[in-house]
Structure formats: structure tokens, C-alpha cells
Subunit: 242 residues, 2 copies
DNA sequence: CTCTGTGAAAACATTCACAGCG
DNA sequence: CGCTGTGAATGTTTTCACAGAG
């Protein structure tokens, strides 16, 4: 009896960064197929949907255990469950948004977060004039001075930065001091955090600029006519601080 | 006399994808230093600001020509100008947003696009009830049926997809048919376009999921305590279509 | 015969380390 | 000296190709 569907995390280290990003894609595609009633899927079919080779899919999944059934493929339900556990998606995450401007408010209205198990429990803004305003379903803007207390009280583990560039690092420091374990940054600059804090950045201007570059330069960077799905938001990890 | 500050594009191919992403970071940092009045900068200083090694910075810049002055560093003004030209940032780009929901509206209000030379000239929405509404400074929502005509009339070369998942591919096809050369996609799915069309995706849920994974897994993917700035939005290039 | 898991090979990207310019 | 540009060395990720399970 081999341990099919067994160990969730064999080595617990050395997950290639690109593979980590693709995990999200696998989970999404698999969830979609599960909903559609599919019971099994081959690495080839999965790869095709996502623009990846079958070998890539198998290597990635094999990082976490033996999920496949030779000759048959992967059991969709099983795999979804395993991936959810591996990625920490089997629990609810509580987050807060800092910055009640355009981006902050758009994120608060973004249903998908809620639906996917990311609950936004609080909004903060530095502008005293904004404090107290109801900015989304039963969420009032709070003062920055309340940050630490609210993070603790609500059990917030993820902070979302939606403030202007020049305030971003300061806000990040405050979030970390308040006890969050990860930060999603929308400000257009690099954020430094001490080791052990997860940080991922999403930068609209860089994204647009990449398009401009590709058009102006007349090529997809590297790999000419090749297909190429390059998943994953900008993420930054920096030790030189703290 | 060696051709300093000469050739803008030597090989015009084989720009490593990660390098292409870092170009945006260089330009941003350099612009900031230019504004601050700095005249020269070394690869080491530049790298330090961005969490990169000096060698990396030099390699990246050397892809496009000889910009540095041995013993002195890089002339900030010169380099900014060159990078802007290389990245196509020396001209204005005209874009349109499809989808007047939360994300679409937030993007329309995002001043930075305008300031950086990306002009959003039109908004479209499939909902007939939305048509005609003024959704941002002098921009009224247009019907999807007007897409092709408006793209042509306004000289729109970039389309921004801010519609729900299930409509995204269809919208992408319409944009390409209308003549845009690049697409920025905010819908949570992979978009396929024919070769020659630039596509970059930004996926909020994947971003959050990466944070959850890092926290749940208790590691930064690969490279343990190492510093690591991984710039760049998800981008997708797919040939298998059209 | 289909499809996985996985070593071995290839491709790709980063860092090192140094010659050479100013 | 300080600093660039770059070949050579190292490290990382992807692809290949095949043994073995069902």
C-alpha cells in the first residue's frame, strides 16, 4: 500500500517560486472543473487549460506528494482538497485595508475576496476627515491610531496597503508592528519587511508599462513565438531591515 | 570614441523576461533620483534601492547599450531618457477600459496612469443601464457595440479588461478585433490572444493566495533567508488561438 | 495503452570576478 | 582608486524521456 494522497508537505522547503505561483492557477482551474462535475483530469488536460506542459504540471504537483493515479489521472475532488489545505485555503483569513481611496474602496467592494475566504474586517485611513464614513457594507473608516488594537481584536493576519507611494513603507511598518503576518501592497514602490513577513506587490503602472514595452519593442520578452504563461504578482522579500 | 549612449536596441530579441520587468523598476527609481537632483548613480546604489545586486543592474542595462561611465557610474538624466525611449514611454499611450464596475471605476480614477502618460480615452460596459453614465471626469460609459468605432477613432492601442471572469475572453477577442495591440487583464482567468498581441494579467485573488500560502507554509518560496525582489505582474502569452 | 513520477539533460537566469577605462 | 561591461561559473527552472503502475 503506497501512500496515495498522503503526505501534504514532504520537504517543507525548496518550493520553486514559479511553482508556488502556479499552485493558485491549478486550484482555480480544478475548482472550476469540480463544479462542472468532472471527476478526473490528466496533467495534459490541466496544462492545456493553463498554457503549461504536462510535465510541468506533474512536477509541480509532485512537490507536495503523490496525488495522481497512473493510467487514470488526478481525482479532481481529492486534489482540490489537498491543494486547499496546502495553500492554507481551508481556513478563513482576516485582512484589513489601509487607505480608503479609489483602490482601497474598490477592494472593499470586490466580492471575490469574501467568496474565496478572505474576509476584510477593517479599513483605515490617515485622513481624519474620512474617519467614521461608511465606505462599504457595514464598514466604517477607522483612524490609524486604532490599527494595533483592531488588528489584535479582529485577529487580522493580512494587511492590504492602498495608500500613496510615500506613505507605504510607514504603513507597512505599522502593520508589521501591529502583528500582521503578510502584506499585499498596491503602492508603486518596493516595501521592505523583516524576514518572516510575507509580502506581495501589485503594481498597475508596471503592468501597463510592460505592455507598452512589448508593443514598442515588438516582441514578447524572450521565447519568441512560444507560448508562455507567466503567472504571479510581483512579490518582494527583503531582509535588510528591522 | 566609443559609442556611449549609443545604440538603443542592439539585438532586438532575447530580452530575458525578468529583466524586462526590472526595467520598469529602474525607470521609476531613476526618475525619482532625477527629480531629487542626483546627476549620477552607480549600479550598486541603484541595486541597493531595489533589492538587486550591482551585477544584475549592470547586466540588465547592458542589454540595451553602453550607458555607464567607468569610474563615475550612470548619468541619471541620460539613462532616464534612454530607458523611456526603449520602453516606449517617450510617447503617450491611449487606452480604454472595458467594464464599469468597481475595478473599472477605480482605474479610471487612478491619476497615476494619466501622469505617467497613459491616457484612458473611453469606458465601455455591457450593461445597457450603465450606458451614458458619467463615471469619471468627462467620461461617459459607452455601449459595447461602439467598441470598434471608438478604438479606431481615438487611436486606442491598449485595452483594459475589468469585467467578470466569464466575459473576459470574449471581451479580449473583441478588443483584438477592434485593433488594440495590448491588453491589461484584471479578470481572474487566463486570456488567450493571437501572437503579436501583448497581454499582461493582474490577479488580486492570486496575489492574496500567495500571501496565504507563504504564511501557511512558513517560508518564502525557495531561497530561504535570502533577499528576493520578484517584480512583475502575471503576464500571459498564448499562440494556440486564432 | 494511458498516464504518473522522476532522474537526467537542456535552457535559462544570476552571481562572481576581473580586465580595463577614467 | 571606483566603477563599468562581460566572460565564466554557479544556481535555478523547465523539458525530455522513460520505467512502472493500473
Amino acid at each position: 500500500m503506497r501512500p496515495y494522497h498522503a503526505c501534504a508537505v514532504p520537504n517543507r522547503r525548496s518550493i520553486p517560486k514559479p511553482a508556488a505561483r502556479r499552485l493558485s492557477l491549478y486550484l482555480r482551474e480544478l475548482s472550476s472543473r469540480l463544479e462542472a462535475g468532472e471527476e478526473t483530469v490528466s496533467s495534459k488536460a490541466l496544462g492545456r487549460s493553463l498554457g503549461l506542459t504536462d510535465a510541468q504540471v506533474r512536477k509541480d504537483l509532485a512537490l507536495f506528494g503523490q496525488f495522481g493515479h497512473p493510467g487514470r489521472g488526478y481525482a479532481v475532488g481529492e486534489l482540490v482538497e489537498s491543494l486547499r489545505r496546502i495553500m492554507g485555503r481551508d481556513r478563513e483569513w482576516t485582512a484589513c485595508v489601509v487607505g480608503a481611496g479609489n483602490i482601497g474602496r474598490a477592494l472593499l467592494s470586490y466580492d471575490r475576496f469574501q467568496r474565496e475566504g478572505f474576509r476584510i474586517a477593517a479599513v483605515f485611513d490617515a485622513d481624519p476627515a474620512a474617519a467614521g464614513k461608511e465606505v462599504a457594507r457595514d464598514l466604517r473608516v477607522r483612524k490609524m491610531s486604532e490599527l494595533a488594537a483592531v488588528v489584535a481584536a479582529e485577529g487580522i493576519s493580512i494587511g492590504i496597503i492602498a495608500v500613496p507611494r510615500d506613505a507605504a513603507q510607514q504603513v507597512a511598518d505599522a502593520l508589521v508592528a501591529a502583528g500582521v503576518k503578510g502584506i499585499l501592497n498596491f503602492a508603486p514602490r518596493r516595501i521592505e519587511v523583516r524576514e518572516g513577513i510575507a509580502i506581495v506587490s501589485v503594481d498597475f503602472t508596471v503592468a501597463l508599462e510592460q505592455i507598452a514595452f512589448q508593443i514598442a519593442f515588438g516582441h514578447s520578452p524572450s521565447a519568441d513565438g512560444d507560448d508562455d504563461l507567466n503567472e504571479g504578482p510581483d512579490d518582494a522579500e527583503a531582509p535588510t531591515r528591522g
